[in-house]
Symmetry: C2
Subunit: 676 residues, 2 copies
């Protein structure tokens, strides 16, 4: 390719180096090594800086997110609202250019950084695209055909979450996914040969990927370009372009861990600029022809976007229903009155496991909510996440489903599933990704879950078998710390519904959420339908579900313990200790209510006892005493366990009496009142 290509590539390298040096913090090596791939790829990226949300844009995910200086440089060149000043503010307080990619910055499709997540997100993006295309494309109307590209490094490939996702991507034959593996053979500890001697090509091939190799990706621009072209021909396999690069290409320390995570020294930067034909006395300068070149790329993207707009107008003529649905989904709105589909229960309705009531909700919603894209980590018959007659999301060649299917067989891959859900949510089009596993195994996906919360992806975890109530499988499967863990994550709803109306409420609030993910904890065992529950009340996160005049004790419970609390309260009230029961299905939602409302539920002067069959850690924010399980569970039938561990009316009443006696004559402040 031309000298101009070299110049553009080196301009990217130098600008990334300046960015990291100015911050005196960051990672110059990977941007320098991947600059050629970035230039070649972004030259043909379908992207419109004037409309970063365009649904048919190509997606780009920087899975090795520490190389973010490269991405900021590319977005700057393309004309996204990242200025030279923003580059100079790299990693500074309140800048647009934080230390890892954050999706708040326009042009950044996914928040990345924790290794292995980004490539998994990219697989989610590709799944969503395949589903969207299969659902809405019509003859002569290719509404959706974008590619998803991702860059990842050795670190990503070492992470299990990437293994899980890549194996699934191969199974799903995602030809719309093109991944660039930065094979630079360096990680923080030094040469990758100290820990990572596997054959990555062979491994990806074993998953069903196409793997291409650009042996000298430092300068073989044509090779990179050819590889992309070839990858696009691979319609039934995801492609990995393994590009062998030199980390920190051009630095005096190129090819070593020394250029990974520290800025280049001034003399090194000087020699680099000189070597590349730049003025070593200048920083943050880009020649006009490079800007001009990228302006033509952006213009091509804008033109493609305009053509797509026209196509969509014509589509709307031909397929008004589909177009309306697409428009609704692009606006991020659910269908009007969708919540009327949610089942409502009375106490006359029969007891059911809340996992079963969750299945009823999904079955009621699926037809009206085409954005529901569900699945399970190989526990479908346990999680009950699949509505009757759901079509599996599968490559048509398998004969097991097709890409318009909305049920994903994730396999036993919880972490990959979580990261893929984030990618599906990031695609847009109002995708509501949900998926199931046992509550205890959502923890396997902790890394992805906190990124859902940080990125504001409103995904839903259907987390069944939510306590020792799962019984015989025993302590390896019984969550204890899990709810505390999740409740401590900012911007995460953690629902634990007590009956059918509360299950409906959990789905109502979760699906209406646009920025907050949810975990919905559900039982294996049956729960009675409560007398005083309602979707409306439960949607506030906490409410009085049983009351007694002049209550002097409150039992605050969630999920399967609410009916136990009500039984106990009745007994206590009869025994002369008037007792109220508060159901707290979601702390996050309850905390957002007005102070007055919350105080009406948990007022001053009344001691509160929490009842929840797992760790009491954290309940101190509402309750003065706790009935819980601050140790691991055991293997036995559920009823035997509840009895053994003191979750019976008798045991609760006994403890409640102790609380009543303890606080007699003492002034009791509501835990809701705090000095600041």
């Amino acid at each position: 390719m031309s000298d101009f290509t070299t110049k553009a590539v080196n301009s990217i390298r130098v600008l990334a180096v300046d960015t990291v040096a100015k911050a005196n913090s960051g990672h110059p090596g990977a941007p320098m090594g991947m600059a050629p791939a970035a230039h070649i790829l972004f030259s043909q990226l379908k992207t419109n800086p004037a409309n970063p949300a365009w649904i048919n844009r190509d997606r780009f995910v920087l899975s090795n997110g520490h190389a973010v200086a490269l991405l900021y440089v590319m977005l700057h060149l393309l004309g996204y609202p990242i200025s030279i000043q923003d580059l100079k503010n790299f990693r500074q307080l309140d800048s647009k250019t934080p230390g890892h990619p954050e999706s708040e910055t326009p042009g950044i499709d996914v928040t990345t950084g924790p290794l292995g997540q980004g490539v998994s997100n990219a697989i989610g993006l590709a799944i969503a695209q395949a589903n969207f295309a299969a659902k809405y494309n019509k003859p002569n109307f290719t509404i959706s055909d974008n590619y998803t590209y991702t860059f990842f490094g050795d670190g990503c490939m070492m992470e299990g979450v990437a293994s899980e996702s890549c194996s699934l991507a191969g199974h799903l034959q995602l030809g719309n996914l093109i991944a660039f593996y930065d094979d630079n053979k360096i990680s923080i500890d030094g040469s990758t040969n100290i820990a990572f001697s596997e054959d990555v090509t062979k491994r990806l091939e074993s998953y069903g990927w196409e793997v291409l190799h650009v042996a000298n990706a430092d300068t073989d621009y044509q090779g990179l370009s050819d590889a992309i072209a070839k990858a696009k021909l691979s319609k039934n396999k995801p492609t990995c372009i393994k590009m062998t690069t030199t980390i920190g290409y051009g630095s005096l320390n190129q090819g070593t861990a020394g250029v990974h995570g520290s800025p280049l020294k001034p003399d090194d930067i000087a020699q680099l600029k000189e070597k590349f034909g730049f003025d070593p006395t200048q920083s943050f300068t880009v020649e006009q022809d490079v800007y001009d070149y990228y302006a033509t790329v952006a213009a091509k993207g804008a033109k493609a976007n305009a053509e797509w707009d026209n196509l969509f107008d014509a589509y709307a003529q031909e397929y008004p229903e589909e177009a309306e649905e697409i428009s609704r989904r692009l606006s991020g709105k659910l269908p009007e009155n969708w919540e009327k589909l949610l089942p409502v229960y009375t106490s006359a309705d029969k007891a059911l496991a809340s996992r079963k009531m969750s299945e009823v909700v999904l079955s009621k919603l699926e037809q009206d909510l085409p954005e529901l894209l569900g699945g399970s980590a190989d526990l479908t018959p346990s999680n009950l996440t699949r509505w009757p007659d759901a079509v599996d999301f599968q490559p048509p060649s398998t004969g097991l489903g097709d890409y318009s299917g909305r049920y994903i067989r994730y396999g036993v891959r919880e972490h990959g599933m979580g990261a893929i859900m984030n990618g599906i949510a990031a695609f847009g089009a109002n995708y509501k990704a949900y998926s199931g596993t046992f509550l205890n195994f959502v923890s396997y996906a902790s890394g992805a879950l906190r990124l859902s919360a940080l990125s504001g992806h409103p995904v839903v975890w259907v987390a069944t078998h939510d306590s020792i109530g799962l019984g015989e499988d025993g302590p390896t499967h019984q969550p204890i710390e899990t709810l505390a863990h999740f409740r401590a994550i900012p911007n995460l709803m953690v629902w634990r519904p007590a009956d059918g109306n509360e299950v409906s409420a959990a789905y109502k609030v979760s699906l209406e959420s646009t920025q907050t993910p949810s975990v919905i904890a559900l039982t294996r065992q049956n729960l009675p339908q409560l007398e005083n529950s309602s979707i409306e009340k439960a949607s506030r996160g906490g409410y009085v579900v049983y009351d007694t005049k002049d209550a002097r004790l409150i039992l605050a419970a969630t999920g399967s313990e609410v009916s136990l609390a009500i039984d106990s309260a009745k007994e206590l009230s009869a025994a002369g200790i008037p007792t109220r029961v508060v159901s707290l299905p979601d702390f996050f939602t309850f905390d957002k209510q007005s102070h007055d409302y919350k105080k009406s539920i948990l007022p001053d002067g009344i001691p509160v006892i929490s009842i929840e069959v797992m760790s009491t850690y954290g309940w101190g924010k509402y309750a003065h005493a706790h009935i819980g399980l601050d140790h691991f569970g055991a293997s036995a039938p559920a009823a035997a366990l509840f009895k053994k561990f003191g979750f019976t009316t008798e045991a609760v009443v006994e403890k409640a009496k102790k609380v009543d006696a303890f606080y007699a004559g003492k002034s009791v402040l509501s835990r809701l009142d705090t000095p600041f």
Copy 2:
């Protein structure tokens, strides 16, 4: 092979089926499919039921732990203390035979069940064996040469944690590891072809494994036996014996998901017994010749153990120092006075990052504690987990170290690392496994961490970059919920030391622990040495680190916030609000102190304000008001972040004054007093 082999195999199948049926809960299919492999393997297992702790016994890990009925049957046949009555109590309260393998049961080497963990534990066991052998074997004195065997299924292979561990095992060339892959092509959702179409053989080969295939492992006993023999010849590669089996072999529903997780129906059991030549009216019967056969296996194991005892006696003559060290280690004791090696600081000593002080501890201890076996997930220069001149644990052929080395280059594989540490701890010989990553990324290993706690493996996580104090890397790397998560796990210490003496205390208590794992959270940034800290005081988990006469306010803090609390207390005291500061480096240890001691630290009548630069969730157990971070962090230099988020003396003093005013005239109960 003989008819007897068939009879023995079918006896195992039938007994496992009876066990599951009696419990009316459990998994019959996998035991039935893997019975041939179990019989062939256990026939040659070096195991001594009279001495389950024998250090040179072969290890066996059932990674697909749901097949535990098989393991109980094998232990029963071998003469381990599992009776027919215990089999009849399968999955019942307080039985020896819980629903998944738990290491409290003699003969069970590791607690398993959560998929992917067991195979990783096995790799840890193999690492420990290789290290133990390299350290202590001498010419003519092969003290250690046991194999580690594991059975795993499709579910394990789908889990990322297994990918991480298996890749590392290949790199480490662990010829002492032999894994049996139960290729039965069925998972809970049905045929594995719905989610798992990868080529497992090719994948394991890509990691550097030897893979053998027994195409008909339902009946090809000779093939299984030959495969084991061949695997033992593979000295520089772990071997996987892929055995194609029929899940539920013999059942009317064999080969389907129907036999995976539910007991066989009575008529199915009847036809099975008849088909196999057993009396369908009998249950839980084993013919004497099968017992006799396994008695000879156990006798062989006892003989091998006795020979080893003799060998060790002779070894002790020749190598008294090594023998003494081995004996000490086998007794589970640290060297006498080892704690004198721990560094002690005064306030005159210079400020250091606590990660650096951790490095000092490791450097002081390593020579006297040969059981220290450390590592890092590719963050060695950040975690500072490697003492100077440490030898890497590496295959000698790499030229990068040898198996006597005690520093493991785990690669970016946190979950695998955690599970491997559990395996190392399970080996015995007092191995003290520790390893490093950023605190935030310990969460990737949640699945393994909770199993450390459940199993009582006293492993140590060196968790650096423990807050927004890591600065520029930003919110993707900054823990918020992490300490709450870990503190809610039963039987887990979560240290967050404030200075050098507290770092020493954290290591002292962690390394002395025999049943409780630890996470030690350490700073990237410097911390001053405190005036009133000591190893002794900090070893109680909480103590008064700064006091003022007639204190009417307490600031309770951990780690980097303790010095901030002291500065704030000084200012408050000077301003007429006498203030105490309590350092709480570990809640778990503090909670174990006497009530009187704890009340002396946090007495009635004084409001407590917690200060910790992450989620306040859970602090209600000690504190009445909280200064924390109930939202995600940001990317900027650390000092800018502490200021932005209110972690300055000025901001703390202002909030403390509000607390003082709020509680003026109110009666304040210590949060330590509870009604039950």
